[in-house]
Amino acid sequence: MSKQLMVDARSVRKNFGSNEVLKGITLQVEKGQVLCLLGPSGSGKSTFLRCINHLETINGGRLYVDGELMGFREKGETIHEMKPNAISMQRSEIGMVFQKFNLFPHLTALENVIEAPIGVKKISKSAATEKAMELLKSVGLSDKAGHYPSQLSGGQQQRVAIARALAMEPKLMLFDEPTSALDPELVGDVLDVMRKLAKSGMTMIVVTHEIGFAREVADRVVFMDGGVVVEDGTPTQVIDKPQNARTKAFINSVL
C-alpha cells in the first residue's frame, strides 16, 4: 500500500519551544497527486511543508517520502538521526519553491539552474546546461538565461526558481505560497507553469491562497487550522461545500 504513497505523514508533531505548531498531522499523498494546502496564516501549513523535506525536524510521529523515513534511520523500534550527507541526498530528490524565490543573486538565471545538478548530482556542465536551457524554455524564459535575478521581475524569478528545482529531477515538488510575493499581474505566468507541471504527472503539494488555482488544478484540497487538518477532500467538497464552520469562514473570507 505504501508503495503508491509519495508522502505518508503519521501524527506529525512539531513545536517551536513551547509553541506547538503541528498537533498531529496525518496525511497521505499519492504519487501523481496535486494537493493544495489551504489555511489561515499560522495554521502550520508552511511548517508542515518544510517538515516534508526536513528543513524542520519533526518532534513526533513519522514522516515518510516515497517509503523512506525523512531525516532518520529506523532500526527496529529505535530511530537514529541521519548524517547530514544522507539528509542532503534525500532532499536532492524533493524540489522546493519558496515564497520569496530565494534565487542565488550572484548567479545568472542559467547558473542558478545548473549549480545543483553540477555540484550535487555531478552532471557534466554541458549536459546540465543543455537540460537547463530546456527547462528555462519550458517556463518561457530562454531569452533570460544570462540575466541576474535582480534584472528579472518577480514572476520571472519564481519561474527560474521552479526550473532550478526541476533541474534536480525531483519526484516531489513542494510549493510554499509561490505567488504570494508577486504583483497580481505576474501571478498568472507562474500558475501557468505550475498547471503544466501538474498535467505532466508531477506529485505536487502546494501551499497557496489561490482558491481559483486550487479548484482548477488540485486533485485534492486540505484545509488546515491551528496545527490540525480540519477538512480533506476534492476541491468541490472543500471549497464549494465545506462542512466545517472554520473552513466555511476561511473560504468566504478569501473568495
Binding site: 542532503s88 524540489g95 519558496f98 549549480e115 541576474y148 535582480s150
Partner: protein, 298 residues
Amino acid sequence: MSETSNNDDVVAVPLRHPWRWVSAALIVVVLGMFIYSLYASPNINHDIINKYLFNGKVIAAAWLTVVLTVVSMLIGTILAIILAVMKLSTNPVLKMVATGYIGFFRGTPLLLQVVFWGYLGIIYPTIDVGIPFTDIIWWSEKTSLVFTSLVAGIIALSLNEAAYAAEIVRAGILSVDQGQAEAAKSLGMGSGYTLRRIVLPQAMRVIIPPLGNEFISMLKNTSLLQVVAVMELYARTSQISSQNLAQVELLVVAGFWYLVMTTILSFPQSWLEKKYGRGFSVVNEKARWMRIGMKGNV
C-alpha cells in the same frame, strides 16, 4: 518665467554660499604656509631626503613590508574564515574555542604579541616532534632556527589579524539572507558546499570594504616588527637615521613610501568589490544615492 513661453523650467538665481569660499581660501593659505615652512626650514636637509628616497636598501625594505602585509593578510583571512564558521557553528566546543581565541588576540596589544612570538625560544628552547609522554623523538630543532624573527613576525601579525577579520567575516555571513542557505539545502547541497558556493560569495560584498581597511592597518602595523629586528621599512629607515642622525628626513622617506603603498594597495579593493557585486545591480546603488541626495535637498 516668461508668459509667452510654454517652457516651465525653473530658472532661479542660485543661492550664494560666500562662507564656503572664505573658509576654502583660509585652508589653502594655512596649508600653504605650513608646507612652505617645512620646505624652507634650515633644520630639514632636503639632500638627505633625496638621497634616501630611492635608496636600494629603503626600496628593499619597502618591498619586504609589502610581502609581510600580503602574506600575513592571506593567512589571517583564511584563519578568519575558519574562526567565523566555528563561531557560527552549533558545536559548542568549536564555538567556545573561537570565542576564546578572538577574545584573547583582540584583548592584548599587538606589540605585546609580536614580542611574545619573538621570545618563543626562551619559553621553548627546542621544538621536538615525536610521541607525547614517551622518549621517542623523530625530529628536534632549536626554536630560534625555526621561528626566525621573520617567521615570528608573520605569525604574530596573522594570528592577530585573524581575530579581527573573523568578526568581519562573521558579519558578512550573517548578512546573507537565511533563505539562501535554505534554498541550497532544499537542492541537496551540503553545508560546506553551501558556504563555499552560495553564502561566502555573497558575504564577500559586505566583507571586502572593512577587510580593505584591515589591509591598510596591516601594512602600517608591520612597522611593529622593528622590535624583533625584521628589516621592514620603518626598521630600516630608523636604523639609517640612528647612524646619520637625520631622524626627520628619514621619517619623511618612510612616510612617503607608506603612502605610496597604501595608495597602490587600495586599487585591488575596487576591483574585488566590482567582482563580488555581480548581480547586485548598479542601478540600485545609483537609486540609493539619489534617494539620499533627494532627502538632503528637500
